[in-house]
């Protein structure tokens, strides 16, 4: 089983309408490439994400919003800030760095 199988992934941006959806698509690509089947993958706004994040295993956001998740990160939640929200390569590299890919 892949490490991220059955995990819950969340992508956040300011409004939950634009870049978070792009992030979700890029994450999907990485999941497909590595044959990972997360339990859930969705996108939402940062404000919604701040309260919803506790129910997710991994939170992705643009770097600008990383400070919104500092507390969660400090509490051990995996928060992955991205420079380029459309880059599946960056997502893949970040997951690899955290040893979350097999």
């Amino acid at each position: 089983m892949a490490k991220l199988d059955n995990k819950k992934l969340l992508a956040c941006c300011a409004n939950g309408a634009g870049s978070s959806l792009m992030m979700e698509n890029a994450i999907k690509k990485v999941m497909k490439k590595h044959d990972i089947k997360p339990a859930e993958l969705r996108h939402c706004s940062v404000s919604e994400g701040k309260s919803a994040a506790r129910n997710y295993d991994v939170v992705f956001c643009a770097r600008t919003f990383a400070k919104n998740f500092e507390e969660l990160a400090a509490a051990g939640k995996i928060v992955i800030p991205l420079k380029n929200v459309m880059s599946d390569k960056e997502i893949e590299a970040a997951l690899q760095e955290l040893d979350l890919l097999d």
């Binding site: 300011a14 309408a17 770097r63 600008t64 919003f65 380029n84």
Partner: protein, 160 residues
Amino acid sequence: MGSVFKDIVEKKHYRFIDGEGVTWQEAVRLSAEPLVADGTVSEDYYKQIVACIEKYGPYVVFDHNVAMPHTTENAEGAYKTGIGFMVSDKLIDFGYDEDGEKKEANLFFTLSASNPDEHTDNIMQLSQIFVNDDLLDALQAARTPEDILAAEEKYPCEEE
């Protein structure tokens, strides 16, 4: 999937500007004007986008000098789903991001979203377009609607 650019040209949701001395706030307003013209968005819709960028910084400016100004789905004054496409002959200054990196754009894809499915389709297509460097180069050199269509034809995005 439809074609973003064919739709943009058919609906006249494009414009070309001389970017000399244009602020990013003004640029966002200008890029939304073709959407205002046919009632896709209200005249004031762009102000929500400007407020959002002022609040969160220029995170809507991506690599390759591409900007995707947008607000939330079903924002006030977003009557239809559409993309306001704008090419500026000069880079528009968006200031610096949180890493101190200068953000500039000459391609604008200003979004209005009222229909979730159409909006998702637009975003899916834009995700492809924004990583298609050849296409972006050609669009940055475009000065007529014919140029836009020719660019898309010459550098099509891979189908998923």
